[in-house]
């Protein structure tokens, strides 16, 4: 199993959610976060001097999925979260060893 974490623009969350849903990926956990990327936040011109606004609100989607679902999920998120401008975000994939369902008591070990 893999854990896919996608940090996206908050205003894209609904699009991403809907697109994932259509492809059958429903389960997810969402964190409200703030972040800055490699291009160093947004620069505002302000009365001559530059003001750097880092720490822009973002949404982090966390999904634990099967190995074979990783690429479909990444593609779906990418297509629906992209605006082409700085700040579109990142997707990280990392390994998960055990997944337990609390209600059902099933345990998947990968």
């Amino acid at each position: 199993m893999k854990r896919v974490v996608a940090i996206i623009r908050p205003e894209k969350l609904n699009d991403v959610k809907a697109a994932l849903e259509e492809k059958g990926y429903f389960a997810m956990t969402v964190h409200e976060v703030k972040g800055r990327g490699a291009q160093r936040g947004i620069c505002l011109q302000y009365r001559g001097k530059q003001i750097k606004v880092d720490m822009i609100p973002k949404v982090e989607i966390e999904m634990v999925i099967g190995d074979s679902d990783v690429h479909p999920v990444i593609d779906t998120i990418k297509q629906n979260a992209r605006t082409g401008k700085f700040g579109d975000g990142k997707i990280f994939v990392s390994p998960v060893e055990i997944v337990v369902g609390i209600r059902t008591d099933d345990e998947i070990i990968s």
């Binding site: 205003e11 609904n14 947004i42 620069c43 505002l44 003001i51 606004v53 609100p57």
Partner: protein, 398 residues
């Protein structure tokens, strides 16, 4: 007639209550924008009040209530409050000035609906000063300062035309000039702080009692009639808007409070002229009409963001006409359509129409002008980051 302590006490307190409506508008609006613009929305209301306060004592009061010039504007005889003293009939002249001041302040605050989440703060200050001088002051003069509308016999008890049509249609013009918010219609931009909006709405309802009853300028029966019709109309509007929106989904608290404001707006011009039972109808219909206007606006893809047009503009228009329909000589000395006086009905329509045209047209021109000279709108980056940070350098957790 000498000063009366009862009347003076009444209008001093009413002035305070109406003052509170301006931050009330800020909170009401602030709760409906995205959190990154919450401070901005409240700050716009505050600064609107502050600049109008100074403009009014220096110039505005004179333009509105100075000696009439051709029915259009007041003369400069009261500039800097010259000749506005502590004596008067019933209440001191200076108190009348103060009571009118708080009306001018809240009107500019209502206007901020049309430019929410995208206005440059500095441009708003300039635009606000121009607007209050060239739109509000003449309109106040027409209805209350001895201008043509007053001569014609048009009725506007507490500002349906002067306050609500002007700001509502003005907001529409502003929204057209400044354009929709970035990505409007693409992403949902739902109210993020409904508690704040409900609190603001509560302060508005509270202050509106003083707004309408105080417009009698005396603690008399007319004031009481205004108080009672005001509350009835607000309640009826809250119920009908909520009921109408219920048919389409759930009874939202925003629908309820918006309906209350619609009812308050609609009764404003007629509150001293119509009976309590007419107020049920005026407010109830206002709830439906303004809800319909909101749906219409949304369908047209027009981002008059916080619906000053739908609620204040259309509600004020309906109120002006309703006054011509329901006015009763037994209450305010003038009969309306249902009591056989069609004349009044047509006067009201004429007055309201001219106000709609003037407020919309003049605001449009002023907005274009400011936009040319200094730019109305923040940059895309600033809008994305939010006005709290980009205009004020602040942010808030609630």
């Amino acid at each position: 007639m000498a000063l009366d302590t009862g009347d003076t006490a009444f209008i001093i307190i009413c002035t305070a209550l109406v003052m509170l409506m301006t931050p009330g508008v800020g909170l009401f609006y602030g709760g409906m924008v995205r959190k990154k613009n919450l401070i901005s929305m409240i700050a716009l209301s505050f600064i609107a009040f502050a600049i109008v306060s100074i403009q009014w004592v220096l110039l505005g009061y004179s333009l509105s209530f100075g000696t009439d010039i051709c029915g259009f504007i007041g003369g400069l005889d009261h500039i800097g409050l010259r000749g506005v003293g502590l004596d008067g009939e019933g209440i001191p002249d200076l108190l009348f000035m103060a009571f009118q001041l708080v009306f001018a302040g809240v009107t500019l605050a209502i206007l901020t609906s049309g430019i929410a989440e995208r206005i440059k703060f500095s441009s708003f200050i300039v635009l606000g000063l121009l607007w209050t001088t060239l739109v509000y002051d003449p309109l106040a003069h027409w209805s209350w300062g001895g201008g043509w509308a007053h001569s014609l016999g048009a009725l506007d008890f507490a500002g349906g035309t002067v306050v609500h049509i002007s700001s509502g249609f003005g907001a529409l013009a502003l929204a057209l000039v400044i354009g929709n918010r970035m990505d409007y219609g693409k992403y949902s931009m739902e109210a993020e702080n409904i508690t704040t909006t409900l609190l603001g709405g509560a302060l508005l309802w509270f202050g509106w009692f003083a707004f309408n009853a105080g417009s009698a300028l005396s603690a008399n029966g007319t004031a009481v009639n205004a108080l009672v019709t005001t509350n009835i109309s607000a309640s009826a509007g809250a119920i009908t808007w909520m009921a109408a929106s219920w048919l389409k989904g759930k009874p939202s608290s925003l629908g309820m409070i918006s309906g209350a404001i619609a009812g308050l707006v609609a009764i404003t011009p007629g509150c001293g002229f119509v009976s309590p039972m007419s107020a049920i109808f005026i407010g109830g219909f206002a709830g439906l009409l303004c809800y319909g206007a909101l749906l219409f606006r949304v369908r047209r893809g027009l981002d008059e963001s916080l619906d000053a047009w739908a609620i204040h503009g259309m509600g004020g228009l309906w109120g002006a006409i309703a006054t011509g329909i329901f006015a009763s000589a037994a209450i305010g000395g003038v009969d309306g359509l249902i009591y056989g006086n069609a004349n009044q009905f047509f006067i009201q329509i004429l007055d309201a129409s001219v106000a709609v045209a003037y407020a919309f047209g003049m605001t449009y021109l002023l907005a274009k002008l400011v936009d040319k000279v200094m730019g109305l709108r923040v940059t895309e980056e600033e809008e994305y980051v939010g006005l709290d940070i980009s205009q004020h350098g602040e942010s808030t957790t609630a």
